[in-house]
Amino acid sequence: MGTVVSIELADDRPDPELRELIDDVCTWLHEVDARFSTYKDDSEVSRLRRGELAFADFSPDMRHVLDACADLWRDTDGYFDAYVAGPLDPSGYVKGWSVEVASERLFAAGSRRHYINAGGDIRMRGTHPDGGPWRVGIRHPWEADKVSWVLAMTDGAVATSGTYERGDHVLDPRTGKPARGLRSVTVVGPDLALADAYATAALAMGEGGIAWLAKRAATGYDSAVVTDDGRAFSSTNLPASV
């Protein structure tokens, strides 16, 4: 899939231990890739797509992902759709979920301060090495070297879906055509899997996504949005640093 992952561990532990923690994260992410990559012919998802896998033989992770995709399809009014392009493709959920789990594993192994950035989706815990919050910039949707918002967070997730890197990769399930209206959607909340899926769904909704995202604020998911014509919107409680 070619996603680059950046990991920073801020725990005060000996280097070899920190390296082991990072290795564990990489092992996990490779496992996810082997199971869910639609680019790998022998992945579980590819076998499933070809009808070679009986339901009883689905792995627990596969079942979890499929359940989550079904819930999200319902909660987003069909705009998060793992079948939008035809055959099953749960990547929109797997991306955020795999990092959410990676962070949980780090936590279980004793890491209390870290962030993981996988291709723009970030999960962070605890404080930055300097003792303050993790400061995360939201990439400006036109100027690659600038940020439009800076967030200050300790525990939480940030996911951004946008059209400025991979172009029209998000389809509007109602038309089957590339979604129009929003150039960048960032969702901030406790769970990266949901933040990622919400960002993708909102992008698929076009301008209607703005109102939909506003409702998510009540459940702890804040957002920052930029439209195709350069208007910016954000929720009241977005943890933006001044």
Binding site: S6, D75, R139, K146, W149, Y164, E165, A217, T236
Partner: protein, 174 residues
Amino acid sequence: MRRSTAAAVGTLTGAALIVGVRLSVTAPVVPVAAPPVVDLANSVPSAKPSATASKAAGSSKKKESASASASASASKKAPAGGFKDGVYKGKGAKNPYGTIQVQIRVEDGEVTAAEASYPTTGDSATINPPAIATLKQETLKAKTAKDVAAVSGATFTSKSYQESLQAALDSAKA
């Protein structure tokens, strides 16, 4: 707000009334004009059969739908599905977002449309503005990434990573 006098009783099966709530007051920051207040009594009856599917917003799990005590504003022929035809309004129901009143249309004895609206009278003062979910519009800024530990952006490929802000931050730390 106007209390509806309970008259007809009917239990409306759940999901049909958990509909997307539409604002009847246009909030200035919402870029899409809010739809006008819906009054089912004056609108054209919809094509059947869509008792449950037509307006379900899916995302709303709120149980604010008014209990079905409703005052009938019209009543026509004998019910086939068990309800009298007409447009019915429920009692206003308070929930964290404000006060909502639900109305339904019954045609041929079945529920064919449902809408929910906020009151637009002086009682709108009871609606706490932050409870109406909106995103506020602001100027799009372009700041340099000073003191930023990471950058969240649309998924970048390995190739574009190299040119990305995150890569610059990572190499600064290595």
